[in-house]
């Protein structure tokens, strides 16, 4: 290659824990052409692309992209607008609830494009990709092929010089795949200077690329044009060439797969499906599918992701009851409750569904026991499977740590542990390298041909489908055709199965292979109206941009509006919790049950009891009969208070002999006990003073008169104290959780990549995401205030404006607190419980809810001082019950305002602009 490379890697190594993703890679990728990285999953292709795109931090070595060092911060900032990156996974960096238009529009905003420019570019891109008719459809409801086209639109919105595509066609049907590559060709024709870097696991696709690098085990094992690679290895196909390039040890395990012909017998069919239909709401996943599979046959289901393969299989296993139609296994209708039929079936689901934390041996043993293999059969059977499937070296390893190929073998071993007569395998070889895939097929062939096991397998690999006895082509829930591979090719007059499938798809969808590129043709002219090419170079990518910030805010609010569960939690959660807390935490101690053991039965004793029974705090129960009764009724919690009046109480009182009344208080709940004791003592004193007054006519008692004034809450009702205290708790708890989830969701679902590879800055990202949650929190604040007025009838005695102003500052601070937590949590569940724990404890214990912050000591004092709830609690109490306004509360406002910049700066510092 004589052109300057678009990217050059020297001595690049990358490891994640113990796994080596890239191992001292040196490679120069030529510019201005289609460069392909080939190899199975997990060999380092994605890591290499992530490094080149600037999404991931370089651990070791140097990566030069577009003539500069991408590891260098300033160069990276200026290079990002020239690079477009589409990560692996269908629609990984798209937002599923957003429509096609909204998705592309969001990317346009991220690159700082104005409204008119965006509208023109989007119209052009959607027209040329054929997505224009689906402008308003949510991304989640697009087919795999359409998702990838949408991803491409988003990547091309800013006219990049380098387009990086990580496995863009994995799991896409062959017709869409063809259309996708034609689209890329037409884009390249229009922008000849653009370099395209593609990773793929499909060798047949790689044939059309200009230059290839074959990868295995984190190393580049071959490079050159496809023709050069084939010539170097002396192989006719790239698949063969790749196997030849593998290290000696790996290659030796491989031998060409030979499938002996099946001897058909006219037995009963193993599986029979008649008109199976599965509907989820208004979506028909499987639409009248019928087929018949004979015993011992290998029957394949070929189709793209989401075409209904998995759903059909689930109906056959009884996991999903069909909406209509009938499925029979061995002549018996499938029934979820039928355990006998299940003993004859082995099932391997699409994802690895064994217990990753159990060892290989433990997984096999568990399943053998669950199938009730007799003790004497179990040991030998497990040993036999370990030997036959080559699992012996891994017996003691946890399944999660196995390489993918080995894991799939273990899954198969587990599926056959009980010697089933039927195997249902759902995409068992996705992501497995060609050598391991052939070994896996060798096992299947052996099971089918030697043991007569019927195998029903789904796949999206053409070369695997060719190995089946018969296949069904599936698309959009329907079976397009069903026959032997050769029969299908013959029926359409095509040379390969892929072409036959495309021909069937064209017939079914009415879209032909060339139609997309034709649509794209007339557009290059209109392109001249746009500022040619370099909207990207004109802007200062590093500077703060309000447009990008608002872009994020707009997108976040759209997403939030379309997620009913989160929205309900945000708005109804606080109202529900206010209801619970308002009614639930009542510190009004009244309605206490008491009873008396009156051993005297005199007028005096009855008067004494009446004095207590007459108060509003106590409710009298049936008298206590004896000591045992007293004991029993206090033990079972019936009585909070028992009064024991001694015999001769009346006589002693008359003679001034100072009789003693015994009082028993239930102290199981200390607060309640304390209050009961206070009530009783108060009532007792009142009564005594009354007696003295009656006797002597003079008021007697204490030398001083203490006048208690319950301020701010004259009725001393718990609810007046509760409501102003609950609002600050709820306004930190729920906004912080939602905020943290909002950021961590992006980390978990993968759309955080857009922060890594677009010019958006961390501050724009954080503030943009924070805005909608501030609005949500303010709405929820308004609901709480309305609830406090209407349901609890707690008046706001002070300034409502001050309360609202304080609430505004407070929710900005609490959402900021959520942002801070989101920067160091990586899963939604950790963010959820982490935030819950980190907000509840300080709010309830250290912010002055029960004890003023000033009265706390040591660490609790400082936590209280540095927690926003402490200040808003004073504002809330002040405005609700103490009739305060701005003039009294300014120090609290100042303190709340100080939290905002501190939390924001901390979050920006802790958030990464690159993946680690």
């Amino acid at each position: 290659m004589d052109r300057a490379p678009v990217a050059r890697l020297s001595g690049v190594s990358q490891r994640y824990g113990a796994a080596v993703a890239l191992d001292a890679v040196d490679i120069a990728l030529p510019a201005g052409c289609m460069v392909g990285l080939i190899g199975p999953d997990g060999v380092g292709k994605s890591s290499l692309l992530a490094l080149v795109s600037g999404a991931r931090q370089i651990q070791q070595g140097r990566v030069e992209v577009l003539g500069g060092d991408i590891g260098e911060r300033h160069f990276r900032a200026s290079a990002l607008p020239r690079i477009a990156y589409m990560p692996q996974g269908l629609g990984k960096n798209l937002y599923p609830t957003l429509s096609v238009f909204e998705n592309v529009d969001f990317f346009g905003r991220l690159f700082g494009q104005g409204k008119r420019e965006r509208a023109e570019r989007i119209a052009e891109l959607l027209a040329s990709t054929g997505l224009a008719p689906f402008r308003e459809r949510p991304a989640a409801k697009l087919s795999g092929g359409m998702k990838q086209k949408l991803g491409l639109c988003c990547a091309l919105i800013h006219d990049p010089d380098l387009l990086i595509l990580d496995e863009p066609t994995t799991g896409v049907d062959p017709l869409s795949r063809c259309q996708f590559w034609e689209l890329i060709d037409s884009i390249r024709a229009r922008r000849p200077g653009m370099s395209v870097l593609v990773a793929t696991a499909y060798m047949e696709e790689a044939e059309r690329f200009d230059w290839l690098a074959a990868m295995d085990g984190g190393r580049v094992i071959g490079r050159g044009t496809p023709a050069e690679l084939r010539a170097q290895t002396g192989q006719a196909t790239l698949d063969g060439a790749f196997i030849r390039l593998l290290p000696e040890a790996r290659r030796q395990a491989h031998r060409a797969l030979v499938i002996p012909p099946r001897v058909a017998d006219g037995d009963l069919p193993a599986i029979e499906a008649q008109g199976l239909v599965q509907q989820f709401g208004d979506f028909t996943a499987v639409d009248h599918v019928s087929f018949r599979i004979e015993r011992g046959e290998i029957f394949g289901f070929l189709g793209s992701n989401g075409c209904g393969k998995t759903t059909t299989m689930k109906m056959l296993t009884g996991l999903l009851p069909p909406t209509a139609g009938l499925a029979r296994l061995f002549g018996k209708a499938v029934d979820a409750g039928d355990l006998e039929t299940r003993k004859q079936v082995g099932y391997m689901s699409q994802s690895f569904s064994l217990y990753g934390e159990l060892t290989v041996a433990a997984n096999l043993d568990l399943h053998a026991r669950l199938f009730h293999l007799p003790d004497e059969r179990r040991g030998p059977r497990i040993a036999e499977l370990m030997q036959r499937f080559g699992l012996e070296p891994y017996a003691g390893q946890p399944a999660a740590e196995l390489p993918l190929g080995i894991r799939q073998r273990l899954s198969l071993a587990v599926a056959v542990v009980h010697e089933p007569k039927l195997l249902i395998l759902d995409e068992p070889t996705s992501g497995v390298d060609p050598v391991a895939r052939d070994q896996f097929w060798a096992l299947l062939v052996e099971l089918s041909r030697q043991q007569g096991v019927t195998i029903f397998i789904s796949t999206h690999f053409m070369n695997e489908a060719e190995r089946c006895d018969r296949i069904s082509l599936m698309h959009a829930g329907k079976v397009l055709a069903s026959d032997t591979p050769a029969g299908l090719c013959a029926a359409r007059g095509e040379a390969t199965l892929e072409e036959a499938f495309i021909s069937y798809l064209e017939e079914a969808t009415g879209v032909s292979k060339g139609s997309v590129s034709h649509a794209a043709e007339p557009l290059p002219e209109s392109n001249a109206a746009l500022p040619v090419g370099h909207s990207n170079g004109a802007k200062h990518p590093g500077a703060f941009s309000l447009r990008r910030l608002l872009g994020y805010a707009y997108r976040e609010s759209l997403e939030l509006r379309r997620d009913p569960i989160r929205l309900a939690f945000a708005l109804l959660g606080s109202v529900l919790l206010m209801f619970v807390l308002g009614f639930g935490i009542s510190l009004d101690v009244e309605g206490l049950r008491f009873a008396a053991l009156d051993r005297d039965q005199s007028p005096e004793s009855r008067a004494y009891i009446q004095n207590i029974a007459g108060s509003r705090y106590f409710i009298e129960r049936a008298p206590i009969v004896d000591d045992a009764d007293l004991d029993r009724r206090m033990k079972n919690g019936e009585l909070a208070l028992a009064i024991d009046i001694p015999a001769n109480f009346g006589r002693d009182l008359r003679r001034s002999h100072w009789p003693e009344v015994g009082v028993w208080v239930d102290g199981a709940m200390p607060y309640r006990g304390e209050t009961v004791r206070g009530y009783v003592q108060g009532l007792h004193l009142d009564y005594v003073q009354q007696i003295i007054r009656d006797k002597t006519g003079a008021s007697a008692g204490y030398p001083v008169n203490i006048v208690s004034r319950y301020r701010y809450n004259q009725d001393f009702k718990s609810i007046y104290a509760m409501v102003p205290a609950v609002i600050p708790i709820l306004l930190i708890f729920i906004p912080a959780i939602l905020m943290a989830l909002g950021v961590v969701r992006e980390k978990e679902l993968g759309s955080i990549t857009n922060l890594y590879v677009t010019p958006v800055t961390r501050l724009e990202f954080l503030l943009g995401k924070q805005l909608p949650y501030i609005v949500v929190a303010l709405i929820s604040f308004a609901l709480l205030v309305i609830q406090s007025q209407l349901m609890f009838q707690v008046p706001i005695k002070g300034s409502l404006a001050a309360l609202c102003c304080g609430a505004f500052l407070y929710v900005v601070a609490t959402t900021g607190f959520g942002l801070l937590i989101s920067t160091f949590t990586s899963t939604q569940i950790a963010a959820l419980f982490g935030t819950a724990i980190l907000t509840i404890l300080p709010t309830v214990s250290f912010s002055g809810l029960t004890t003023p912050v000033a009265a706390l000591e040591g660490a609790s004092y400082w936590i209280g001082q540095c927690f926003p709830a402490s200040y808003f609690l004073i504002v809330s109490r002040g405005t609700f019950t103490k009739a305060l306004g701005f003039a009294d509360l300014w120090p609290q406002f100042l303190a709340l305002a100080c939290f905002i910049p501190v939390l924001t700066v901390l979050s920006v510092l802790l958030l990464r602009k690159q993946e680690k």
């Binding site: 999903l320 979820a336 619970v580 102290g667 209050t675 007792h684």
Partner: protein
């Protein structure tokens, strides 16, 4: 129940324990919940009066009024700083003082003349938990001081009836006694629901439940296995918390039978775990489960009678909470642990609690298959 069913439940449960053992984060959470969390909750936040800030405005400046100001207070009340009337209002508004005592001019003179002067005690009633108790304390301290000044005795003047108040089950009304045990109960509720709910969703997300349903196993077996295994882990934790943390470290005497309590806890675990699975069948992903758990645990913890006595709740709230097993568990746990109640006293609650648990179990069982197949759609 056939032998095969029992054997399946046993085997699946062992697997559940192994999975739990492999999840170190959860293990640490369980250990913390039954050790450190109990200790902090018992000794930390409580509703007792502690360091209540009092301010005194002394307009008399006499030996008697100063005596009050400088009085050796019990540790619950902070020594009052002297203040002026203006400072006082501002201090109460900003929450710096919860109580203020205003001693009028000529106080000592009036007391000695037997004119019973008024002393004003202002109480910040927005802090409910402290207001009443604090006021009672401050009153008794003030009266005691004056009495001592006049008569040399802290006791008040002779009264025609003496009152002997004895507090049962917790004689000194120590908050630690209450806080420690209630925290054990709260953590049992919280952990059981989280553990079982999360284990269920995790298996759904990984597709392992589907795998089990394709084998000759029934949803009943899968659910029972989850319940016994996770329940056992929580029960072990709770036993440790009760016997080691509460009885030995915190020195809280337990009135009743610990085995009876643990047996009741086992029944409660069944009910709480059933709620966990039920929530797991409602949520479609782990974050949704988390939000659901938060919205259901908080009412369970606060409204079951552990925080607010049931008689203080509005009747409708109390009746709704009869549908939650936690209500019965809190009641019977308080009965057994504090009041020494035996089976003869608590059997009704025990029965009701198990019945409520069975209802949740059956709803979850009914939703099980549907929920599992919804996961990936």
């Amino acid at each position: 129940m056939s032998w095969a069913t029992l054997s399946n439940i046993y085997r699946l449960g062992l697997k559940e324990l192994k999975s739990l053992w492999a999840d170190k984060v959860l293990l640490i959470l369980i250990c913390w919940a039954f050790t450190g969390a109990i200790y902090t909750a018992a000794t930390g936040a409580s509703q007792e009066l502690r360091n209540a800030p009092v301010a005194v405005v002394d307009e008399d400046q006499s030996p008697l009024s100063r005596r009050r100001v400088g009085a050796g207070d019990p540790p619950d009340v902070r020594p009052p700083p002297p203040a002026t009337q203006a400072e006082l209002d501002q201090g109460m508004d900003s929450g710096r003082y919860n109580f203020t005592l205003i001693i009028p001019a000529n106080f000592q003179h009036d007391v000695q003349a037997g004119r019973r002067p008024d002393v004003q005690l202002n109480i910040d009633a927005t802090i409910m938990s402290q207001a009443f108790i604090g006021a009672t304390y401050i009153k008794s301290i003030a009266l005691g001081e004056v009495n001592e000044y006049l008569t040399g005795k802290r006791d008040s003047a002779a009264t025609p009836i003496r009152l002997s108040t004895r507090v049962r089950f917790n004689p000194n009304l120590t908050g630690v006694w209450f806080g420690g045990v209630m925290e054990v109960i709260n953590n049992v509720t919280m952990l059981t629901i989280i553990l079982v709910g999360a284990a269920f969703i995790r298996e759904r997300e990984h597709g392992t439940i589907e795998h089990l349903l394709v084998m000759p196993l029934t949803p009943f077996e899968i659910m029972m296995a989850k319940i016994w295994a996770n329940g056992l882990a929580v029960l072990l934790g709770a036993s440790f918390a009760l016997i080691v943390m509460v009885q030995h470290v915190l020195q809280v005497p337990i009135a009743g039978s610990v085995p009876l309590f643990l047996a009741a806890a086992a029944c409660y675990l069944f009910a709480a775990a059933s709620i966990g699975i039920f929530l797991g069948t409602l949520a479609r992903s782990m974050p949704q489960l988390g939000l659901l758990i938060i919205l259901s645990i908080i009412p369970l913890l606060l409204l079951s009678g552990g925080v607010t006595p049931r008689e203080s709740m509005p009747a409708i709230v109390g009746n709704i909470m009869l549908g939650a097993p936690t209500t019965y568990f809190v009641r019977l746990a308080q009965g057994i642990l504090y009041r020494g109640a035996g089976l003869d006293v608590v059997w009704r609650d025990l029965l009701a609690m198990t019945a409520v648990g069975a209802v949740f179990f059956n709803i979850a069982l009914f939703r099980f298959r549907k929920a599992v197949t919804q996961t990936q759609i």
